[in-house]
Symmetry: C2
Subunit: 140 residues, 2 copies
């Protein structure tokens, strides 16, 4: 995996400490929320504004360097792995998010039978359930 700074330069984005730290954190901790990323970055950098975290995540997402996913009942999550059209397993209890390979190959990996005239560009699949840890916890 290339260094964050190189990736930024490659996309002609000015290299700033905040961008390097946010991108590194996203790589280090897949599926983290903006807040979790901010925490991680503060360990590295000492501080970063909430707004900058959002700014950086947005520009990286727009450039296609990272991907944003937004499962129900959770803040948006971000990840490094782009372009491989994988899907997610999400725990209803703790929100733990796990990558899962696409059953088919490329996007869109499913075709709606009757697409009602929509021009579909992505089929998003989220498998909901309980992660192994939460299955063991007392149910109520």
């Amino acid at each position: 995996m290339r260094a964050a700074a190189d990736i930024l330069r490659q996309h002609r984005l000015p290299v700033t400490a905040q961008r390097v730290a946010v991108l590194s954190e996203v790589s280090r901790r897949p599926h983290a929320t903006a807040d979790e990323i901010a925490e991680g970055v503060r360990v590295e950098l000492g501080s970063i504004s909430r707004q900058s975290v959002y700014n950086v995540l947005t520009v990286l997402t727009d450039k296609g360097i990272i991907r944003r996913i937004q499962p129900a009942d959770s803040a948006a999550r971000y990840e490094d792995r782009v372009g491989d059209n994988h899907h997610h397993l999400v725990c209803r209890a703790c929100g733990h998010t796990q990558d899962v390979c696409c059953a088919k190959g490329h996007a869109p990996c499913l075709t709606a039978h009757d697409h009602h005239g929509f021009a579909i560009d992505e089929a998003e699949v989220i498998y909901w359930g309980l992660c192994p840890a939460c299955q063991r916890k007392p149910k109520r």
Copy 2:
């Protein structure tokens, strides 16, 4: 379709004007948000508190009378059609949401190849794209 009041009684829920109106509105206008439902109910009832709309939607959802869906970049939406495991086509531009039959039969209609020990109870599929109307609008 049975009258809202009957459905409520059938589930042993006290029948109130607010519940009847909210449930009717959800039936009448599939995939509406809580705010849109509130507007609709106010036409019927004159007024309803924001909190009651949420209370009613929550109890109806918990009883399985309606279903809540939460596409990215949109408030939660509600619908009548439960238990048929259908999916959705969502317009990236205007949020218009269209039902689409499940490619397979029952839930979970897809099986993750490697499910990483998760106990999966639902495979949620959202097809993203542009609705016919938004395809015609000038792109920018």
